[in-house]
């Protein structure tokens, strides 16, 4: 019995030391990790809304839709566009895309937030070709509106990735649907005002 207490004590001691050490490391890294998380979102938003000031993008929730409003200057007076997250089911995951549009609902930029598609196939939605600096698949969307937005196989204007039509379609369709909804929501809101 005594033995168990003693052994338990030693184990507890070690665990306590470990816990202590970890809480110190945690305290040091925590801000950094949170910063990283923020940076990811921030980077996505600035890619989506290149013309907006990075400190002047604010989240809005309306009619069950979460989107962002982007302003040109930090005083948030001159609205330049909106951003939202489109999500659609791809081949093996749900693909989430941050999409930015200007006030005429023409796409200004986008970036993939989340996808676990097949490497080499579905992941080509993020492929940056050698010698280029931006992903070619996503670049196609810029300057387009939801109208007619579809992959070529469905008769649309987006060249799909060979062998990954499902992923291409998921991105395209989710943006198409999301954009349509955003426009409706925003216009409704405007007319309310």
């Amino acid at each position: 019995m005594n033995d168990i207490v003693k052994l338990g004590g030693i184990l507890l001691l070690f665990s306590a030391i470990a816990g202590g050490a970890l809480s110190v490391v945690n305290a040091i890294t925590k801000p950094r990790i949170e910063l990283q998380k923020k940076l990811v979102l921030e980077r996505a938003l600035t890619t989506a809304l290149p013309m907006a000031n990075k400190d002047a993008i604010v989240p809005v929730e309306q009619d069950n839709m979460l989107y962002y409003k982007g302003y040109k200057t930090p005083d948030k007076q001159d609205l330049v566009g909106y951003a939202f997250v489109a999500s659609g089911k791809g081949y093996s995951s749900t693909i989430e895309t941050m999409v930015g549009v200007d006030t005429t609902f023409t796409i200004t930029g986008l970036s993939i937030l989340q996808q676990v598609e097949t490497p080499g196939l579905g992941t080509k939605i993020e492929e940056v070709r050698y010698g280029e600096s931006t992903p070619w698949f996503q670049d196609q969307f810029v300057d387009k509106t939801w109208n007619g937005l579809a992959v070529d196989k469905d008769g649309g204007n987006i060249t799909s990735i060979t062998g990954a039509t499902i992923s291409s379609r998921a991105v395209t369709k989710s943006i198409h649907d999301g954009l349509k909804q955003l426009e409706a929501t925003v216009r409704q809101h405007h007319s309310d005002m």
């Binding site: 665990s15 970890l22 809480s23 490391v25 945690n26 093996s92 499902i166």
Partner: protein, 210 residues
């Protein structure tokens, strides 16, 4: 619908994201304990059992001890200003829980059912440091599964593991008697076989229920 969601978890865990063939978890026992069907079945059941229990236990630990929510016991007990975020202790907490769980299960089975102990007992110690067990608990956490979903996932992931293990054992019993080229005998041919098996399991990829 809840039932459908659970079914999807199950099908995913057994066939599409099979622990061994797609997620690469539990490779050591997959190669090590697959030389004979009977021990494969024994190991399989031991893993199913421990995975289910571990999923249950770690969910409770996570929900009541680690997560910064209102139901955090430290928060309730010690009247902290805000719920403490102890998520960084998850690895250490989970592994200790699993280790003690296996010990405990071993003791209980030994007392309650010597027959079961005889067939499962020898596999239990092997399981403590098996990454499939810790893996399933970490995946439960990542996927934010509910208590029930965690249990279902733990159970079915174990079944998926057992499936791959027992199929492998059947094949290796024959392979044992085949003129496999000498350099490939043993582990190499087992991995080549695993590769072919996982090619066949690609057939399940993209499966969508409902």
């Amino acid at each position: 619908m809840e039932i459908k969601a659970l079914l999807i978890i199950a099908v995913n865990a057994i066939f599409i994201y099979n622990f061994v063939l797609s997620r690469f978890l539990g490779i050591c026992p997959y190669i090590g304990v697959s030389k004979n069907i009977d021990s494969a079945i024994g190991m399989g059941f031991a893993v199913v059992f421990v995975m289910t229990l571990a999923s249950m236990a770690t969910w409770l630990i996570d929900f009541y001890l680690l997560r910064p929510t209102e139901s955090n016991i430290f928060y309730i007990l010690f009247n902290f200003k805000e719920p403490p975020d102890l998520m960084y202790l998850k690895t250490i907490a989970f592994i200790l829980v699993i280790a003690s769980l296996v010990q405990f299960v071993e003791m209980v089975i030994q007392k309650m059912s010597p027959g079961l102990y005889k067939s499962l007992g020898i596999y239990l110690p092997l399981i403590t440091t098996n990454c499939a067990i810790l893996g399933v608990t970490l995946i439960n956490l990542d996927a934010n599964y509910s208590f029930i979903a965690s249990i279902v996932h733990g159970f079915t992931a174990g079944l998926g593991f057992t499936l791959a293990l027992v199929l492998m054992a059947g094949i290796r019993e024959n392979l044992d008697m085949a003129p496999v080229p000498k350099p490939l005998k043993g582990a190499p041919i087992a991995f080549i076989m695993a590769s072919l098996m996982s090619i066949a399991f690609l057939g399940f990829s993209g499966l969508k229920i409902g």
